[in-house]
Symmetry: C3
C-alpha cells in the first residue's frame, strides 16, 4: 500500500481542521502560570507569554507584578531598566512606572501627564506558582484559577521544576491524554516496568469540558524512578493506575497510584503522585513548561525528594525531546501535505483539541466584535 488512500488523507485532514494545532490562536481568557513563586524577586525578569513580552517582578512587600515590557515613550524594554523603590525607571529617558503600570514621573516635565502607562496584568500567587491573566481585563476572576489545594497542603511534599519545551503546548496536552506513549518514548524510564502498557484497559471520560483518561496496569513492576523512593523494591506484583485530566489550556492534572497487588485490597499501602503539568505558551512553537509534583509518602524526606525529582524529570525531558521532534516536523511540513491519522486511543485527545480550538475561536470572535 505504502500510503493511506487519498480518501483516508482527506478524511484525516477534515478531522484535523476541527482540532487545535500549533497554529491555532491562543486562548487568552485563562489563568496561566507566569512563573514559579521562587523565580519572582525584587528584580526585573523578562518573559514572553502568549507572544507578548512582559517584565515581571515582586514588590518589596511581596506582591507579584507583570507589565508590558515596552516603555510607552520610545519602546525601551522595561526589563532592561532599573527597579527603584518598587517602580521601574526606564533605562532610556527615565520615565517611571508604578506597579499598576501608571507612569508617575517624566523627568523632563514638572507635571507627569495622566495619559501615559503600560498594561498591567493581574497576578495571583498560590503556593509554589504565580498565575497571570492575559485575557480581557473585565473577565479576570481569581475564583476561576483551578483549585490545587494539595500544592499548599502539609500532607503533600512537593518537587518542582521548569522545562523549556521547543513545541506547542497543544502537543503536550495530547501527550498526557495518550499514555500509550509511556511504553515507547519512556521505554527506559517510566515505561521500563510495564511492557504491554499500551494494551492495558483504560477508561475515557469526555463531557462538558471534561477530558480524562484512566488506565490501570496490573501486575507490573514499579517503574525505576519510583520503586526505590516508594520502598516497594523489585516486586512483580505491583499495580499502577493513572488518571490524566485536561483541566484548562494551562493545566493538565495527573494522579498516579502505585501499590502492591499482593497486599489485600482493603489494607493496601497506596503511594500517590499528583502532578500538575502547567504549560504556558511562550509563542506558537515553544512553551514554558512548569511542573509541580506532590507525594503523600516519605513526607519531608529530602533524599526521597531528590531521587524522585531526578527520575521524574529524566522522563519529562524525554517528552520535551519527543515533542520538539514532532514540532520540527510539523513546522517544516506544508499544510496541504500534513495529516494526522487518529486511532481509538486518541479519542480523548481529539475531543480535547476540538475543545481548545472552540475556546480560541469563540474568544477571537468576541475580540473582533
Amino acid at each position: 500500500m505504502t500510503l493511506p488512500s487519498a480518501d483516508t488523507i482527506r478524511r484525516a485532514q477534515t478531522a484535523g481542521a476541527q482540532m487545535a494545532s500549533f497554529e491555532t490562536p491562543f486562548v487568552f481568557n485563562c489563568w496561566y502560570v507566569a512563573a514559579l513563586a521562587s523565580e519572582l524577586k525584587n528584580e526585573l525578569l523578562e518573559r514572553m507569554i502568549l507572544g507578548r513580552r512582559l517584565v515581571l517582578y515582586r514588590t518589596s512587600d511581596g506582591v507579584p507584578v507583570a507589565l508590558d515590557d515596552r516603555c510607552a515613550h520610545r519602546s525601551f524594554p522595561l526589563s532592561k531598566s532599573k527597579l527603584v523603590d518598587d517602580t521601574i525607571v526606564c533605562g532610556y529617558h527615565g520615565f517611571r512606572y508604578d506597579r499598576t503600570g501608571d507612569c508617575v514621573e517624566v523627568p523632563s516635565l514638572t507635571k507627569c501627564p495622566a495619559t501615559i502607562g503600560v498594561r498591567a496584568y493581574p497576578m495571583v500567587e498560590r503556593g509554589p506558582v504565580v498565575w497571570i491573566w492575559m485575557g480581557a481585563a473585565e473577565e479576570a476572576d481569581p475564583s476561576t484559577i483551578p483549585p490545587l489545594s494539595w500544592m499548599e497542603s502539609s500532607e503533600w511534599t512537593l518537587n518542582i521544576g521548569y522545562l523549556d519545551l521547543p513545541a506547542s503546548y497543544i502537543g503536550l496536552h495530547e501527550n498526557l491524554l495518550d499514555l500509550t506513549h509511556i511504553e515507547f518514548l519512556h521505554a527506559d524510564t517510566l515505561g521500563a516496568g510495564a511492557p504491554g502498557y499500551s494494551m492495558a484497559p483504560y477508561n475515557t471520560e469526555i463531557g462538558e469540558g471534561v477530558f480524562a483518561l484512566s488506565r490501570t496496569v496490573e501486575p507490573a513492576s514499579i517503574p525505576g524512578p519510583f520503586a526505590g523512593p516508594m520502598a516497594f523494591g523489585d516486586i512483580t506484583t505491583g499495580g499502577r493506575s493513572i488518571r490524566s485530566e485536561f483541566v484548562t489550556p494551562a493545566l493538565h492534572q495527573l494522579v498516579a497510584r502505585y501499590y502492591d497487588t499482593a497486599e489485600p485490597a482493603e489494607q493496601r499501602r497506596i503511594c500517590f503522585i499528583s502532578t500538575a503539568h502547567l504549560p504556558t505558551p511562550r509563542d506558537h512553537v515553544s512553551t514554558h513548561y512548569f511542573i509541580v509534583n506532590g507525594r503523600n509518602f516519605a513526607l519531608g524526606d529530602a533524599e526521597v525528594t531528590e531521587d524522585l525529582h531526578r527520575g521524574m524529570f529524566e522522563a519529562f525531558a524525554e517528552d520535551v525531546w519527543g515533542l520538539g521532534n514532532v514540532q520540527s516536523v510539523l513546522s517544516a511540513t506544508p499544510a496541504e501535505e500534513l495529516y494526522e491519522i487518529s486511532v481509538k486511543s486518541d479519542t480523548a485527545a481529539v475531543a480535547m483539541r476540538r475543545h481548545i480550538r472552540n475556546l480560541a475561536l469563540a474568544e477571537a470572535a468576541e475580540r473582533a466584535a
Copy 2:
C-alpha cells in the same frame, strides 16, 4: 558607462525568465542519487531530498529503503525512532512500519487498520550509489537510470566523495558546462597548468535534451592533481581534452583525457578520468553533491587513488565555495534588480537551463491537471 543600459538589462531579464533558476520548481520525475551505497546501513538515516524529509535504511538482507520521515499518526520523525527487525517502530506511540511503508502494528489496537502508512520511494542500487525516484509513482522505471557502466567495471578504479553544496543544483550544472571558469576559480589547482584555457577552441553540442561542451587545450602542462598520479611529470607538451555533458538534472558526466602531444598520435598513452557529478537538491538553496571519479590507469593503486582524491576534491571544494558565494548574492538580490548577462560561452548552459525549466513546468502542469 558604469552600467548596462536599461535595454540591455530588460533583454537579460527576459532571457533569464526562460531559464531555470534556484527558484524554479524541482524536477521530480527523475532518478536522483539518494546516498552513497556505503552510507546505507541497517540503521536509520535522516535526509532531506527535493524538500522532503526522508528516512533511509538498508534492510538486513541488503535492500535500500526510503520512507517519508513522519509517522502518519502524530508526525513523530521515523528517523528518530527504532529500527527493529527491518521495520521502524515509531519512537512516540510505537506504530510499526514495514519496508513498504505500510503500518503493520498499532500497539494499542488488537487489529492494525489497513489504512495507515507512509509513502515509500523506489530505490535502486547501482555500484557505489543508490538512486531514488521521488516523482509520480507510476512513472518510476529503473531503465531510465542513466547507464554508468564504468562505475561497476573492473577496468576503472573509483574514488568517491560527498560535498555539502550551499547552493542550488542549477548553478552546478551551469558551472560544469562553462569550463572557462577553470582558469579563474581553479587558478591554483586544475587551472594551474593552463593559462589561456578560457580562450581554447571548443565545441558545443545542443540537441534534443543533449547539452554538451568539448574543449581541448594543447600544448599545456598537466594540472597538479593529475601530473603525479598519471606519471607525465612536468611536461609542457601535454594535452587535455574535456567533454562535459548534462545528462539529467541529477547527473552531469565529464570525461577528461590527458596525454603527451610529443608522443605520436596513434601510439599515445591516454589517461582517462571519468567523473559523474551527481547533484541532488536538498532544497532550493542547498544540494547533496555526490561525486564518483573513475580512472583507467594505475588500477587499484591505493596511493594513486588517495593522491587523485585529495587533488580533485580540493578543486571541487573551490566550486562549492564559488557557487555558495553566488547563491548568497542571488538569495539577497531583489528579483527586479537581478539580471545575468550571457556571452557566447554560455550557449550550452543557457540552453540547458531552459530545458530544466521546461521539464519542471511541464511536470508541475501535469501534477496540477
Copy 3:
C-alpha cells in the same frame, strides 16, 4: 489606569504614522559616509549600504571606488574576486571591471562587448572620511556634502571610531535630539556629573530643514571622560553646554562646551568637543555608525586623545546597547499594537522624523514617476 486610553493610543498612532520609523524607505539622495579613509586600501572591501551590497577599494593612485558587488555575468561577488592593476577580475569566469564599473575584458571573447558593466557610485574623500552617493546619478553634487572644515583643520585634534549599531539610524538621530537620556542611559558615564540634566533649560530650533537643540547645565561637575583630559579637576562650579543638530540623514553634529563658571565669563577657558555622528544604514535594522570627534585643547597630545577616546566610546557603546534594545522591541511588536507617546522634549525629534519621512516619500514618488 494601567494603560493609555484607546483615544490616546489612536492619537499617538496617527502622529507616529507621519514620522519616519525603521520601516520608512531610505533617503538615497544624500551623501553618506561609506568608510573611514583609513579603511580604504588597495584591496577589496565588502560593505552593505542602504541595503545594497557594494565592493569598495582604493586605486593605487589613491582614488576611492565603489561598485555593485555582483558580476553582471553570473552574480559572483566582486568582493571575493581579485584586484589586479586597479581592476577587479571576477573570481569565477574572469570578467574584468575597471574603476568606472565598465567591463573591459571577457576572457573567452576576443572583443569585449560594450554593454556589460556594473554600477559605480560617486565617492568623495574629505579628511578622515569617504562619502558615497547612492541616489539618482544626475543629482550627485559634491557641493552638497556637509562642510565639516574642522575635521580637516590643524586647530582640531581628532579621534575617530566605528560602531556596529544593531538598530535603525532613525533612532540614533532621535537619541541625539533628546539629550535628557544622558541622565539615565549614561548614568555612569556622561551623565555622572549632572543629576537634573533632564530638567535643565533648553532651546529648540525648528525651521526649514533645521532641527536643533541646545541645553546648558550649570553648575555641574565636568563628566568623568572629560574632567581629566580638560584639566578641570573635580570642580562643582563647572558648566556644560551642548548643541545638537540634525544636518542630513547621514550627519548629526554636536558641539559641546565645557568651562568653569567660577572664572569670569569674558576670560573663561572653554574646551570644545565637536562630534560628527555619521550614521549610514546597512539595512533597515542596522547601521554603520561612524564617529569623528574633534577638540580644540591639548592639541596633538596622544595620551589625551586616548583617554578621551576611551571615555567617549564607552558612552557611545551605551547608546548602541540602548538603541539595539529598542530595535529588538520594535521589530517584535505588531504594528497595530505599537504606539509611541511623545512629550515636550521630543518636539525637535518628532519634527526631524517627519522631515526624514517627507524626504523619503518625495524621493520614492520621484523614482516611481
